[in-house]
C-alpha cells in the first residue's frame, strides 16, 4: 500500500498537535506495512516561525528522541516544498505576518522540485494564493509518483489533495483535525469553510478525530454521513520512563490550565471556577500557563475577582517547562469551548495528574476516568476540582485508571483503522 500524504508540518518543525498527530499516525501506519510519501510545505524565516510558535503555545510537544526519529526518517520519503504556508494562521494574520517578514524571507526551493519549479521568492502574500500554489505542487507530485491513495491533513492541504486526485484518479481521504468552526467560532472565514467543504465533498472518505467533529462535518458542511469515519487520535508512550521529579516550591495544591489563552480554550470558565474553589479553600493555587489574545482580559478578570494572590500567569511555556508544570500540578483542567480532540489531558494523565475536561472536547469520547463537565458549567467544574483535591479515593482512582486508560490509546490501533480505510478504497 502506497500513500501520498499531504501535511503542513512535521516534527521536529511542529507548532501544534497536528504535527504530533501526523508523526504518531504515520509511525503507526509503517507498522502496518504502509508506504508513505509525506509532503509538507516549508515555512520560511526563523522569525515568522517563532511568531507561530508563540501563538500556538498550548499544544507544543516534541516527543521523540533522535535515534527513533532518524530511523523513522529513513523509512519514509520526505519532501519539502518551498512555501509560505503557516499552520494555525488565518488569512488575515498571515497577511500581516508575511508583510512584516518579507524582507527577511530568503528564497529557497524545494529540494525535489527545484528543477521543475523556479521559485522566484515572490511568494504570494495571500494565504489563499499559497494554498492554490500548494495545490499545483500537489498535482505535479501526483503526476510523477506512484501511489494507491491520497491522504490530506486539514484544510491547507485539501486543494493539493483534490488536485492530486484529479491528475491521478486515485482515491482521496481528507483528515479533519479541526474545523473552521473550532478555530473561529461563528465568525468563520468563508473561504476557509469553502475549501474545507469542497475538499470533503470531493474526497472518497473523510476521517474525523472525534464524533464531535464528525457531527460538525455532517451538520455544518452537509457531507454524506456514509463516508465520514471517526478515528480518534492516540498518544505516543512517554519519552522518558522516569517521571520528572520536581520539587514543589509552594505548600498549596496546584490546579493548572495550559493552553492558548483564546476563546476556543475557555480560559474564563477556568477563572470563574477557580474563584468558587478559593471562596471555600484558600489552600489551592491556580495557574494559567500559555498566552493568547485573551490574556490581558483574563488578568483583569482575576484582579477584579481579587484572587490574584492565588492565581498565577506563567506566560508561554515550552519543552521541559511544560513537563515541569504537569509534574507540579495536582489537577489539570481543560475547559475548552470547542476542541476537536485535545491531546493535552492525555499528557497530564500520563504524568499522573487527574484531569477535568469539558464535554465539548473530542477526547471526552475516549476517556472514562476523568471528570467531564460542560465548559459553561463553572459550578460543576469547581465541584470536580474540589472533589479531586479533597476526596482521596476519587483522586487515586482517577489517576490509576486514567494512566492505564491513556496507555491503551495506541497509535498502532488508530493506524490500523486508517489502513483499513485505505484498503477499502483500492
Amino acid at each position: 500500500m502506497k500513500v501520498l500524504m499531504f501535511g503542513w508540518e512535521f516534527p521536529p518543525h511542529i507548532t501544534g498537535g497536528l504535527g504530533t498527530a501526523c508523526f504518531g499516525l504515520t509511525k503507526g501506519l509503517l507498522k502496518h506495512g504502509v508506504d508513505i510519501q509525506f509532503v509538507v510545505p516549508k515555512a520560511y524565516g526563523d522569525e515568522s516561525q517563532e511568531a507561530v510558535r508563540i501563538i500556538n503555545a498550548s499544544d507544543v510537544t516534541v516527543m521523540m528522541n533522535d535515534p527513533v526519529f532518524r530511523e523513522y526518517w529513513n523509512q519514509i520519503t520526505y519532501m519539502e516544498i518551498g512555501s509560505n504556508l503557516i499552520p494555525y494562521v488565518g488569512p488575515e494574520d498571515f497577511q500581516q505576518m508575511v508583510s512584516e517578514n518579507t524582507k527577511t524571507t530568503v528564497e529557497e526551493s524545494g529540494r525535489v522540485f527545484s528543477e521543475k519549479f523556479q521559485f522566484s521568492g515572490k511568494y504570494g502574500h495571500d494565504l489563499m494564493e499559497e494554498v492554490a500554489r500548494y495545490a499545483l505542487v500537489g498535482a505535479a507530485i501526483a503526476a510523477n509518483s506512484e501511489f494507491d491513495v491520497i491522504h490530506a491533513h486539514d484544510w491547507l492541504t485539501y486543494s493539493a489533495g483534490v488536485a492530486a486526485k484529479k491528475i491521478s484518479g486515485k482515491p482521496l481521504i481528507v483528515h479533519m483535525h479541526a474545523t473552521e468552526f473550532d478555530r473561529s467560532g461563528e465568525n468563520y472565514n468563508e473561504n476557509v469553510y469553502e475549501i474545507e467543504r469542497k475538499g470533503m465533498a470531493e474526497a472518497d472518505r473523510v476521517i474525523t478525530v472525534s464524533n464531535l467533529t464528525r457531527n460538525i462535518v455532517i451538520e455544518r458542511y452537509h457531507i454524506d454521513p456514509e463516508k465520514v469515519i471517526t478515528v480518534h487520535n492516540a498518544v505516543e508512550p512517554p519519552e522518558h520512563s522516569d517521571l520528572m521529579d520536581v520539587e514543589k516550591k509552594v505548600k498549596e495544591q496546584i490546579v493548572t490550565f495550559l493552553g492558548r489563552i483564546t476563546f476556543q480554550k475557555g480560559p474564563e470558565y477556568f477563572i470563574e471556577a477557580a474563584c468558587k474553589v478559593l471562596e471555600r479553600d484558600k489552600n489551592v493555587r491556580f495557574v494559567m500557563a500559555g498566552t493568547g489574545d485573551l490574556m490581558e482580559k483574563m488578568i483583569r478578570r482575576v484582579a477584579k475577582l481579587k484572587i490574584s494572590s492565588h492565581f498565577h500567569f506563567t506566560g508561554f511555556l515550552k519543552g521541559e517547562n511544560v513537563d515541569r508544570m504537569f509534574a507540579m500540578s495536582d489537577v489539570y483542567v481543560m475547559p475548552s469551548v470547542s476542541e476537536p480532540f485535545g491531546i493535552s489531558p492525555l499528557e497530564a494523565m500520563r504524568s499522573n495528574v487527574p484531569v477535568v475536561i469539558s464535554k465539548q472536547s473530542g477526547v471526552a469520547e475516549v476517556l472514562n476516568h476523568v471528570m467531564k463537565v460542560d465548559f459553561w458549567d463553572v459550578d460543576a467544574m469547581a465541584d470536580a476540582i474540589y472533589g479531586l483535591l479533597h476526596y482521596k479515593s476519587l483522586n487515586s482512582m482517577v489517576i490509576t485508571h486514567g494512566s492505564e486508560e491513556v496507555n491503551n490509546l495506541k497509535w498502532e490501533a488508530a493506524s490500523r483503522k486508517i489502513a483499513d480505510i485505505y484498503e477499502s478504497l483500492v
Binding site: H369, M371, D379, G387, M397, H401
Partner: protein
C-alpha cells in the same frame, strides 16, 4: 401439587439533587424533589397501579389459588405517601384480600447488614412497623436488600426473629444443586431459605421483550411448558424480580400485562401448580438440605456478588465514611437527621458509583441519574460531608447540653431547649456532672425559657 412463589420487589430511592461543595455547611436539603416526584408518578402510572389491578383481578377470579408476595422499601412507601397516595391504597386493597404476603427488609433498602448489626436491626424493625401500620400485618419472612445473603446475615436475621429468608440461587452457592427446593441455612438449621430461580425469573425480567432472544416472543403457554418441564421431584419454583419489570423495564407494548394475567391463569387451570407465599412455603414444605454461604452473594450481575455496590475505592470510601456515623446516629433523636440517615443509606447511591461497566462498554445500559460514576461519588460525598458536619454538631450539642443522649425520641424543639433530666452515660463523671447540672439548673432553665419566649 408443586409450589410456585411469585415475589416482586418494590423500591424507590430518594435521589439526590445536584449538591455542590459550596453547599456544604450552607444548605441541608439533599433531595431532588422534582425528579423523585416525576419518576415515582411515572412508574406508578406505568407499573404499580395497572400491575396491581391485574393481580387484584387474578385474586378476584381465582381466590386462594393465586398468591403473590411483595417487599416494599420504606423509602418507596414514603414517596408513595408523598406523591402517589393512590399506590398505597392500591396495595391496601391487595393486602385486604389476604392472598398477599409482605416481606420484611431494611427500611432504607440499605446494605447495612454487611457492616452494623445494631443499625441493621433498627432498620428492619422500623420497616416492619411501617408495614404493620399500613397493611395491618407484621412480616414473618425476610429479604435483604438486593437479596444479599451470607451465613452472618442469616444469623443476624434469625436473631431478629425471622425464620424464613429469600436469596439468589447463585451458582457459587448451589454448585450442582437445584434452586427448586426449600433449603435451610447450614449454621442455623431453623432458618429456611428460598432460592431464586434466576433462569425462569430473568426470562421475564430481562428477556421478555428482547427480540434478539431466540425464544422471543415469550407466551404464557411457552412459559408454563418450561415450568412443567422442571424435574417433577423439584417441588418449588421461586420467581423473584423487581416489580418495575411490569410496565417499566418491559413496556406495556411488549404485552407484559397480558402475560402477567395469562401465565398464572394457565398454571392454576393446569392443576399442577399452586401459588404460595414464602411463609406458606416454609410452613408446608420440608427443607431438603443446608446451604453454606461464608461469602456474601446478591442477585446482581453475572458475578452475583457485592461488586456492583462495593467493588471500587469510591464505593468503599463512601460506604465506610457513612457508617462511621453509626455510633452517633444510634442515639440520635433529631428527626431531620434520622430521615437523612435513612435516605443516604440506600444501596442505589453506591450502585451509581459502580465503574465495572466501563470495561464492558455498557456504561449507558444501567439507569443512573449521573453522567459518570465519578459524578455520582462527588455529589454523594458533598452531601455526606454536610451531613457529617450536622451529626458532629448534634453530638457536640447533645454532649454539652446534658452530657448524655436522651433515651427517647422527642420533638426537635424539646431536644434543643430542654436538657435531659436523666443523664445515663459517662458513669465515672456522673456525680460531677449531676452536681454541676444541679448547681446550674435554675439560671440555665431561666435563660432557656427566656430565649424560647423571645
Amino acid at each position: 401439587m408443586r409450589s410456585i412463589c411469585l415475589y416482586f420487589q418494590v423500591h424507590q430511592p430518594f435521589r439526590l439533587r445536584t449538591y455542590r461543595f459550596f453547599d456544604i455547611g450552607a444548605d441541608h436539603y439533599y433531595y431532588d424533589d422534582y425528579q423523585n416526584r416525576r419518576i415515582v408518578r411515572r412508574i406508578a402510572n406505568d407499573c404499580y397501579i395497572p400491575a396491581n389491578e391485574v393481580l387484584l383481578a387474578l385474586i378476584g377470579e381465582y381466590g386462594s389459588a393465586f398468591k403473590v408476595t411483595f417487599s416494599i422499601s420504606g423509602t418507596a412507601i414514603e414517596q408513595f405517601k408523598k406523591y402517589t397516595p393512590e399506590v398505597i391504597e392500591s396495595f391496601r386493597r391487595l393486602a385486604k384480600t389476604g392472598n398477599v404476603e409482605f416481606l420484611a427488609e431494611t427500611y432504607s433498602h440499605s446494605l447495612v447488614g454487611l457492616t452494623d448489626p445494631e443499625e441493621f436491626k433498627r432498620q428492619v424493625d422500623e420497616h416492619a412497623a411501617t408495614i404493620q401500620e399500613l397493611f395491618g400485618v407484621t412480616p414473618t419472612a425476610f429479604r435483604n436488600t438486593e437479596l444479599v445473603f451470607s451465613n452472618g446475615i442469616a444469623e443476624q436475621v434469625f436473631k431478629m426473629g425471622y425464620k424464613t429468608m429469600l436469596t439468589e440461587g447463585a451458582k457459587q452457592l448451589l454448585g450442582w444443586k437445584s434452586p427448586n427446593y426449600l433449603y435451610f441455612s447450614s449454621p442455623h438449621p431453623r432458618m429456611k431459605i428460598l432460592l431464586r430461580n434466576y433462569q425462569l425469573s430473568d426470562d421475564i425480567a430481562f428477556r421478555f421483550s428482547q427480540q434478539s432472544w431466540n425464544e422471543w416472543p415469550l407466551t404464557a403457554e411457552k412459559y408454563v411448558s418450561w415450568l412443567d418441564s422442571v424435574d417433577a421431584k423439584q417441588d418449588l419454583v421461586n420467581i423473584f424480580m423487581d416489580y418495575e419489570t411490569i410496565g417499566e423495564h418491559q413496556k406495556a407494548e411488549s404485552g407484559i400485562f397480558g402475560f402477567l394475567r395469562a401465565f398464572p391463569e394457565q398454571l392454576i387451570k393446569s392443576q399442577k401448580w399452586t401459588f404460595r407465599t414464602p411463609s406458606e412455603v416454609a410452613d408446608e414444605l420440608q427443607p431438603v438440605a443446608g446451604i453454606d454461604c461464608p461469602h456474601a452473594i446478591s442477585w446482581a450481575d453475572e458475578e452475583r456478588d457485592l461488586t456492583a455496590w462495593l467493588g471500587n475505592d469510591l464505593q468503599q470510601e463512601a460506604f465506610t465514611t457513612l457508617y462511621k456515623l453509626s455510633k452517633t446516629m444510634s442515639t440520635c433523636t433529631d428527626a431531620d437527621l434520622h430521615r437523612d440517615w435513612n435516605y443516604l443509606q440506600a444501596s442505589d447511591h453506591f450502585y451509581y458509583m459502580c465503574t465495572k461497566w466501563f470495561s464492558d462498554g455498557d456504561v449507558h445500559q444501567y439507569f443512573t441519574p449521573y453522567g459518570t460514576p465519578y459524578e455520582a461519588f462527588l455529589n454523594y460525598m458533598n452531601v455526606l460531608s454536610d451531613f457529617m458536619i450536622r451529626v458532629k454538631e448534634y453530638a457536640e450539642k447533645a454532649g454539652s447540653d446534658s452530657n448524655a443522649i436522651p433515651s427517647k425520641v422527642e420533638t426537635k424543639v424539646e431536644t434543643v431547649s430542654i436538657p435531659d433530666p436523666k443523664p445515663n452515660t459517662a458513669k465515672a463523671t456522673k456525680t460531677k456532672v449531676k452536681a454541676a447540672a444541679d448547681a446550674k439548673e435554675t439560671p440555665e432553665t431561666k435563660t432557656k425559657k427566656a430565649i424560647k419566649k423571645g
